[in-house]
Structure formats: C-alpha cells, structure tokens
C-alpha cells in the first residue's frame, strides 16, 4: 500500500480484529484514513465494511458481545485508550447512518442538539448561527430556513439524510463516517448527497461505506475493498477500478460476485 501523502493520516488502524462473540468479523485490518480525501469502503454484503467503520468511532461499544483488538489512532491518539472519552471521540468522529434517523423534534432542535450537549454556544444568537452554518454546509438551509420549527421527520428522505449530515457537522467533527448514506434514497437525492460529499471534502476527512461501486468511483479518491472480513486491497480509487492488483478485487469490480 504505497501511498504518498503529504500530511500524516487522520486516522490509522493497525492489525484490527473485531469479534462478535466467538465469530471474527474483521481480520487483521490495517489502514490509513487520509485527512484530505474521501475514502470509500466497498465489498459484498456481510464483508465487514460497516463493522469496521463503526470501530472508528466506537459505535460497536453499544453491541453487547462485540470486542475490538488492535490499535486505532485519531491524530496519534489511541481511541480505545483510557485517556479517550468516548463521547468526545464521537463528536470528533461524526457518523451518518444508513437509514436517515432524525430525532422526532424540530429541524432546529435536530441540528442544535450536538452543540447544546457539548456546551458550544454561549447563547441563543450563537446557537442560531451554528445551526444556520451547519444547515448551509449540508446544503439544506435554502429548503428549510422558513420552517425550522417543523418536525425533522416530516422532510423527504433525502432532506432527512442531509439534516443528519447537518446534525453531524454542527459539532465540528474532524472525521465524518457515512454508512451507506444513500441506500434508502432515490437517484436524485443520492446525487445531492454525492455533490455534498464533494463540497465537504478537504474540510473533513470522510469515510463512506457503499455497496454501490459507481458511487465509490464517483465520490472517493481512495478505495478499500473488503471481502469476508479481510481488507483485500486499498489504494487510489482510479487504480482500484482500472488496474486492481488482486484477482478478487477485479472479480468483484467486474461484477463476477457481489
């Protein structure tokens, strides 16, 4: 994996194993997450790409029998180490889920929730500004600015997903993890999310899990191909898609299994 990066990677994982009970879901994965690129995780269903994504902000902690081994660092800090508060980690490494999951609260409250629990805003004016900025960055402001008090769940699916992105952005994360963010959306909403990912690139390190190879090719600069819990190949997206080094990658990309 020869990657010439000018900057140190944002996150690094070394020899990571994830177990669900006795079953090993992730085997010995080592990977660097670039700070200025979009990284895509691709692979067939059940290959462990989502599982691995969720180790990056310790969402797997909520699963009773899940166990993570190995070292994962965020800017050189061990995220499973005793000095790392998991709440702080999840604010720094935000997450967007497969199914849009806005809180059953107003649009404003959805975005304001993160800044509020972390005490970012000194007052109402500052909080308003934070909510507006997050919604602008998520490309939703123009559509919702006149109805911030309406319920977030009343928005369309694509809007809900952008609201979830705004909610993640509102706490100024350093990394945004997206777990198949478009799988529940129609092509037009998907295109909007992909456009948004382009705009957010560079400001945040972005990792996106997708089962849609065209999407990986469109939005990412780095692609990691997972199969049966193993990281088969990781490299420049153009390389992976035009000139894969592994036979298994080539077979998957050309649609021989999936």
């Amino acid at each position: 994996m020869d990657m010439e990066t000018t900057l140190a990677p944002k996150m690094t994982a070394a020899n990571v194993n994830v177990f669900y009970g006795d079953k090993r879901a992730i085997e010995d994965v080592s990977i660097d997450v670039s700070r200025e690129h979009v990284t895509a995780f691709i692979g067939p269903s059940g290959c462990g790409k989502s599982t691995f994504l969720r180790t990056l902000n310790r969402m797997n902690d909520t699963i009773a029998n899940a166990r993570v081994e190995g070292l994962i660092e965020l800017d050189g800090e061990d995220i499973y180490g005793p000095a790392m508060e998991v709440e702080q980690l999840r604010a720094r490494v935000g997450m967007v889920f497969q199914k849009p999951n806005p809180f059953p609260k107003s649009i404003y409250e959805n975005v304001a929730y993160g800044p509020r629990i972390h005490g970012f805003a000194a007052g109402k004016v500052e909080l308003d500004a934070m909510v507006e900025r997050a919604l602008v960055r998520a490309g939703l402001w123009e559509e919702v600015k006149d109805r911030l008090s309406e319920s977030g769940t009343a928005l369309s699916g694509g809007q809900q997903q952008r609201l979830c992105i705004a909610r993640a952005i509102a706490v100024d994360p350093e990394v945004i993890l997206m777990d198949e963010p478009c799988s529940a959306l129609d092509p037009i909403a998907t295109a909007k999310i992909e456009e948004l990912i382009h705009e957010l690139r560079g400001r945040y390190a972005i990792v996106i899990v997708t089962h849609n190879m065209q999407q990986a090719a469109r939005v990412s600069q780095r692609t990691a191909f997972f199969h049966l819990g193993v990281l088969v190949e990781y490299g420049e997206t153009t390389e992976i898609f035009t000139n894969p080094r592994q036979k298994r990658t080539e077979d998957y990309i050309t649609g021989r299994y999936g």
């Binding site: 889920f97 929730y113 993160g114 629990i117």
Partner: protein
C-alpha cells in the same frame, strides 16, 4: 406435452365456486355478529352496574355525604374521610412507584448486562406483578408495621404497600415502552457524542413516556380499587374524622365501601352505592388526567 403448457382460465361461475364464496360471506357475517355480541356483553354489564349504582346511590349524594366522615348513623355518614385517605394513599403510591418503576425499567433496558442475573430479576418482576394483592398486604404488615413500626392504619403505610404492588406493573410497561423506541434514535444521539444518560433522558424517556403513562394508569387504577392489602395493614378501622396527614389513621374508598356493604342497617345500602359513584368518579378523573398527559406528550412534536 401440450397439456402441460395449455392455460385454462378459472371458471368462477361454476356451482362449487359460488358455494365457496357464499360460505365465505357467511363466515364473515358470523364473525361480525360474534364480535358485536362480545362487545355488547361487556357494555351491557357496565351499563347495568352504572345504572344500578346511580338509581340506588344518587339519593345519598348530598353535601353532608360529600363532606362528612364515617358514623354509626347512616343518615350522618360521609365519604370525605375515606376520599381523603385514598387521595393521600395514592400520592404516596405514585411518588414511590413511578420514579422507582421507571428507573428500574431504564436500568434493565439500557444498562443491565444480559446475563443469568438479569434473567432472574426479569422473571421475578413478572411474577411479582401476578402476586395476589393480599400477599402484599401481609408483606406490608410484616415489614412496615411489625419491623419498621410505622403507624398503623396510616395512608403512608397503605401507600407503601400499594407502591410495592404497582411497581412491577410500571416496570413491565416501562420496559416495553423503552424497548419500542427505535435503536436508530439511540444511534443518532450517541453519534453526536451524547452520553448514555443524555440518550436516556433527552430521547428514550420522552419517546417512551406515553407508553409508561399507560402502564402507570393501569397500575394506579388497580391500586385505587384495592381493598385486601389495606385491610391487612389496619386501614379498616372506624375513622370518624378525616386524616390530617400521611401518618393519621385513615381508611380508603374501597375499604369504606366494603365496610358499609357489611352493615345490617338498611340506610347503608344507599350510602354504599353513593360511595361507589364517588370511587368511580375519582378513578375517571385520575385516568382522564393521565390520558390528557399522555396525549400531550404524544403530540409534542
């Protein structure tokens, strides 16, 4: 070969087909009638009860009755003492059973590890909800009166005893309500860095509250109508003045009804019915309040 490929359209007009459809319609009709009959039976009994009570008791509902306390003369008895006793008892019950029940439900659903101990606790709580109330009365007698030496016949002890009985109902309803909050909401809150307590208090409990309140209504309604455990802890005494506080001797509405129904004097028949009307009205107001609260929380967004 050509046989297997031939497509015969179904002939829906044969006698067999028509008979089949007629039988199906008849089954639909029979089911509707059976359902209606079932409803009518329960509504009929309720109407019979209400009408009988009103006819017998409405004459006994006057100002003296509503403001007085127990007496030996049926013309001078009143319900206020028992009403106040019930009110104080219910206050103690809800003040204990609601927070403890909800906390237990939250702990069991959100915090407790799934292992043999929590299985044992779960089975115990489910069994506790099914224990006959007289047993709780005996427990109250043994623990609160004989061991802790709390005052006999007091709403405090009655409330404590009924709280023990109501708690499992609230725990079970609370757990079901908490379980029905979608995990995606928890993920969403954890994903922006909320702690587990914040997830519970900002998201899970507000969403589960309507369900928790439904369980609380059921539990409280049962506690309000409960007689047997109160007899065990001495709330059956003849109390001629309304209780002034939680530790004063008192009786409760259902106990008062039970006591009056036992009186030989004819005048008490009317008073018993009148007391039942007051008990039903109390219950309706209490349930109405809880339903109002539930709807308020449900339509908040």
């Amino acid at each position: 070969m050509s046989d297997a490929l031939r497509i015969d359209p179904t002939d829906w007009r044969t006698d067999t087909m028509r008979r089949r459809i007629r039988a199906r319609y008849a089954a639909e009709r029979r089911f509707r009638l059976a359902g209606l009959a079932a409803i009518l039976i329960s509504v009929g009994f309720l109407a019979f009860l209400l009408i009988t009570m009103f006819v017998n008791g409405i004459g006994g509902l006057d100002w003296t009755f509503l403001t007085g306390s127990d007496a030996t003369d049926p013309d001078r008895v009143g319900i206020w003492g028992a009403f106040k006793g019930s009110l104080l008892t219910m206050l103690v019950t809800i003040a204990l059973a609601f927070p403890i029940g909800v906390l237990s439900a939250v702990y069991l659903e959100e915090y407790a590890p799934r292992n043999r101990w929590t299985d044992v606790i779960e089975v115990s709580i489910n069994n506790l909800a099914a224990v006959p109330s007289i047993i709780f009365g005996l427990l109250g007698l043994a623990v609160f009166l004989n061991t802790m030496h709390l005052p006999r016949s007091a709403p405090l002890v009655g409330g404590l005893t009924l709280a023990l009985m109501t708690m499992p109902v609230i725990v079970i309803a609370g757990r079901n309500a908490i379980k029905s909050v979608p995990p995606s909401i928890r993920d969403a809150a954890l994903g922006v860095g909320a702690s587990r307590i914040q997830v519970v208090f900002h998201h899970v409990l507000p969403l589960a509250l309507p369900g928790i309140l439904t369980g609380t209504i059921i539990g409280m309604a049962r506690a309000l109508g409960e007689t047997a455990p109160l007899l065990m802890i001495g709330m059956r005494a003849f109390i001629a003045s309304p209780p002034q506080g939680f530790t004063d001797p008192a009786t409760a509405l259902p106990v008062q009804i039970f006591l009056w129904s036992d009186e030989v004097s004819r005048g008490f028949v009317e008073k018993t019915s009148a007391a039942i009307i007051v008990l039903l009205a109390f219950m309706l107001v209490m349930n109405g309040l809880a339903i109002y609260l539930r709807n308020r929380f449900e339509t908040r967004w």
